[in-house]
């Protein structure tokens, strides 16, 4: 694939530009950051998978409460261990970029929030989501009463067919009305 060991070829660069929402500058920057994470021996081979803990050492992801979920969602490895190739990494950046459509962002957001990967957001998913947002320790958690009230409120607002879970279309409907989401 690559001609020189330290650069992306022009064809792959333009192909990535076409297939993702990133600009040329952003792809080159992503390449630089990705290769910094590789060991010396692996440099130049873009099919290498970087394990999840290395990806999570990036400063942008380090403090993000969803870093594990993000890696798992974008990973294409058969072992489901959250490791990313360069193309997975580009996928990640593309979904979070400014020019990605609302549809794509909400699709990925749904998958990130779906902690048990069953295709819907049920009460346990929502509970885990709220705990991620507020913190894990005892003093930063909501009380069980408050949690119950909060989740009932969320389901009331977003569950249209009243089946007790939020599926993808309901999620996308809620997100499209949400003014804070696109940023």
């Amino acid at each position: 694939m690559g001609t020189t060991a330290s650069q992306l070829s022009k064809e792959s660069l333009s192909e990535y530009q076409e297939l993702t929402f990133l600009t040329k500058q952003e792809i080159l920057l992503a390449y630089k950051r990705f290769t910094e994470l590789l060991d010396k021996s692996e440099k130049g081979d873009l099919n290498v998978r970087i394990p999840m803990n290395k990806i999570n050492s990036l400063p942008e992801l380090k403090s993000n409460p969803f870093k594990d979920r993000i890696c798992r969602v974008f990973s294409t490895s058969e072992h489901k261990d959250g490791s990313l190739t360069f193309e997975d990494f580009l996928d990640l950046l593309s979904a979070f970029s400014d020019s990605a459509t609302l549809e794509i962002k909400s699709h990925y957001a749904f998958r990130i929030f779906d902690f048990d990967d069953d295709g819907t957001l049920d009460r346990s998913d929502l509970e885990k989501l709220v705990n991620c947002l507020t913190g894990e320790t005892e003093e930063t958690k909501l009380s069980p009463d408050e949690m119950r009230q909060l989740i009932s409120n969320i389901l009331e607002e977003s569950d249209i067919d009243k089946d007790g879970t939020v599926n993808l279309s309901e999620f996308q409907h809620v997100i499209s009305r949400s003014p804070d989401f696109v940023r």
């Binding site: 930063t140 969320i154 997100i175 989401f181």
Partner: protein, 650 residues
């Protein structure tokens, strides 16, 4: 894998790329597939596709270049990463004001100052006819030996050597400039540029607030989808620091707890008895009267201060350097003082009025906005009452000539002083209050420092500060054409001052401002400021007699009179058209028609919205029924199968 992926059509390209990347021959297969696809398309389609691709790339490149030119891009990114998007919106608002002021300055410069400057070089002939009385302009040019003190006083108060410069209205002793081929009517240009910059500001602000307004209009209920908004869209993915993350989590927790409490409070409000309600309304009435009283007292103080300051300036008695300066700046000092204590007072009394927390914040903010912007109005009103009142019944020259030979310059000087003082106050508060506070907190762990707490960047108060400054700029540009340039420089420095203070002294607020609604709030307050700024400008142009001793409007009664005079010199066809447009009959019928059409459109939109709501409710019920039916169906099928199986067994 997840079946949801296949449902998304826009994802097919990424999906199929992922499938072939597993084999490792991604490039070959994708280019092969593209070649096959290309052979299916005609040459026209191929050309269209390739041109679309090139156009997209060109557009991306152009946008990248343009965004790298934006002012302060790196600084704002840094602030976004450290403090989130709420505070970011304050700084991008500041950047917007810098750009706006710069454009206004360019307008004033190119249409008013540039012709005067280039007139001698292009052999232009400047005409300026003064006739009648009241034409002697006693400017404050100093003669003889001048103390260096005077230069500083002059710089700070706009008198002395600054008075006879391009800075103030009085210097523009130009009526028309006769170039070789055209005549440039500077008086008309001056008036039109004033109206133009007000209009330009209005359009630019409305355009900028278009998206925010749409979102706020969609939300029909007060707290529509607020929970979903906070949970699903609450995490700010731009935050990178560890501390910031902890604070963001804490703030989200606070927000959620507050929202849940608000629900409980709403329930409590609904459960109030009649006796409690009466008592509450009585308390609210008293406190509102108290707030109105406080406002009235402040306004009266400002009126007194302005009158005292004017009298002191007119008396020409020089006491000492400091006392003179205080006399000059007395209105500004009183206004700033009032603006410091009224927010504290208002947030104190709102605790007793027992509103819901969200309404409390909004109401206090509205009171503060009213206080800030009306104080300028009171200052101007007291100035004008002095300008238009003379010793006799009616003024000989239409205004108070003895004391204000060039009253526009005087008003310009007051606006100039307000701007300078505002800038000094902002910088000194940052240096002398926020930095020591940070030092006390870090080095002294006593109870007092805990009580003081670390500085929070209060977005509403900061926004009010800069909107106040911008309102002064809009009012004062007519009297002080270089004021937009001064404001540009002022906001430029304020950006850096606030940025340094933010990074060094502040921690993010525990009750954060949402990014989406903050933009709407900022631009809404700015629009109120603009509306308030238009009133004095219009009144002074149309009502108050322009001074005969200085400025471009010496030959006209009021500044507005330029327009009828020019119109009467136009060819008769255009003149009759313009007269008919401005005649009463046409104006009234036009307004009635637009009012009618507007209300019709509004009723139509409301009816449509109601119909849509009904349809949505019906569909929602249908969905519920389908869900239940599915359950029911499943159960029914199960029952049938069970029944038949038992029959079989039997």
């Amino acid at each position: 894998t997840n079946p949801l992926l296949d449902e998304l059509p826009s994802y097919q390209s990424l999906l199929y790329r992922r499938k072939s990347s597993a084999g490792g021959s991604r490039q070959r297969s994708s280019s092969r597939a593209r070649l096959e696809k290309a052979q299916e398309l005609s040459s026209w389609e191929q050309w269209r596709q390739s041109s679309r691709k090139h156009l997209k790339r060109l557009r991306d490149y152009g946008q990248e270049r343009l965004s790298s030119l934006k002012l302060w891009r790196g600084d704002i990114h840094l602030i976004e990463g450290m403090f989130g998007t709420g505070i970011l919106s304050y700084f991008s608002f500041l950047r917007f004001l810098v750009t706006l002021n710069f454009i206004i300055f360019l307008l004033m410069f190119s249409f008013i100052m540039l012709p005067i400057i280039i007139a001698p070089h292009l052999s232009g002939n400047i005409t300026y006819n003064q006739s009648g009385e009241c034409t002697v302009y006693s400017s404050g040019v100093r003669q003889g030996l001048v103390n260096y003190h005077k230069y500083i006083t002059d710089l700070l108060s706009g008198e002395g050597f600054l008075e006879q410069t391009y800075l103030f209205y009085g210097y523009y002793k130009v009526d028309k400039i006769h170039f070789p081929h055209i005549t440039y009517n500077l008086a008309l240009a001056y008036l039109l540029v004033t109206i133009g910059y007000l209009f330009l500001s209005l359009i630019w602000i409305v355009k900028r607030s278009a998206t925010g307004f749409k979102h706020n209009l969609i939300q029909d209920e007060d707290r529509f989808q607020s929970f979903c908004n906070k949970i699903f869209a609450g995490w700010d993915f731009c935050i990178t620091g560890d501390n910031a993350v902890k604070l963001k989590k804490k703030s989200l927790l606070c927000e959620l707890k507050t929202d849940l409490e608000e629900e409980k409070i709403k329930q409590k409000i609904a459960d109030r008895t009649r006796g409690e309600k009466c008592r509450l309304y009585f308390i609210r009435l008293i406190l509102n009267l108290f707030a109105v009283g406080v406002l009235a007292a402040c306004f009266y103080c400002i009126y007194l201060a302005t009158s005292f300051s004017q009298k002191a300036q007119m008396s020409n008695k020089k006491v000492s350097f400091i006392v003179d300066l205080i006399n000059e700046y007395l209105p500004s000092i009183v206004i700033t003082f009032a603006n410091f204590i009224t927010p504290v007072l208002f947030s104190f009394i709102i605790n007793f009025e027992d509103y819901s927390p969200a309404f409390e914040i909004r109401f206090t903010l509205m009171r503060c906005v009213f206080m800030r912007l009306t104080s300028i109005g009171v200052l101007l009103f007291s100035l004008w009452s002095r300008i238009t009142k003379c010793k006799e019944e009616t003024c000989a020259c239409g205004y108070n000539y003895e004391q204000y030979s060039c009253w526009e310059t005087h008003v310009g000087q007051e606006m100039y002083k307000l701007t300078i003082f505002d800038f000094i106050v902002i910088v000194s508060v940052t240096i002398f209050v926020e930095f020591p506070r940070k030092l006390i907190i870090t080095h002294n762990k006593s109870a007092m420092s805990k009580w003081l707490g670390q500085q929070e960047f209060s977005i509403p108060q900061n926004v009010l500060e800069i909107v106040y400054g911008q309102t002064i700029c809009w009012i004062g540009t007519f009297y002080c054409p270089l004021l937009p340039a001064i404001c540009t420089i002022k906001y430029f420095f304020i950006f850096y001052v606030k940025k340094v203070s933010l990074i060094k002294n502040c921690r993010p607020a525990t009750r954060p401002f949402r990014a989406s609604s903050s933009n709407f709030f900022f631009l809404g307050v700015l629009l109120i400021g603009l509306a308030l700024a238009c009133v004095p400008v219009i009144v002074s142009i149309a009502q108050i007699n322009s001074s005969r001793a200085c400025g471009p409007f010496v030959n006209y009664t009021t500044s507005w009179e330029v327009v009828p005079t020019v119109v009467s010199q136009l060819p008769s066809g255009i003149r009759t058209l313009l007269w008919s447009l401005s005649s009463e009959a046409f104006a009234i019928s036009f307004f009635v028609l637009t009012w009618f059409v507007f209300h019709l459109a509004m009723f139509y939109v409301i009816a449509l919205a109601g119909a849509h709501k009904r349809v949505i409710n019906e569909l929602r019920e249908k969905l519920e029924m389908v869900g239940l039916l599915r359950l029911y169906n499943d159960n029914l099928v199960f029952l049938f199968v069970f029944f038949f199986k038992t029959v079989e067994l039997l």
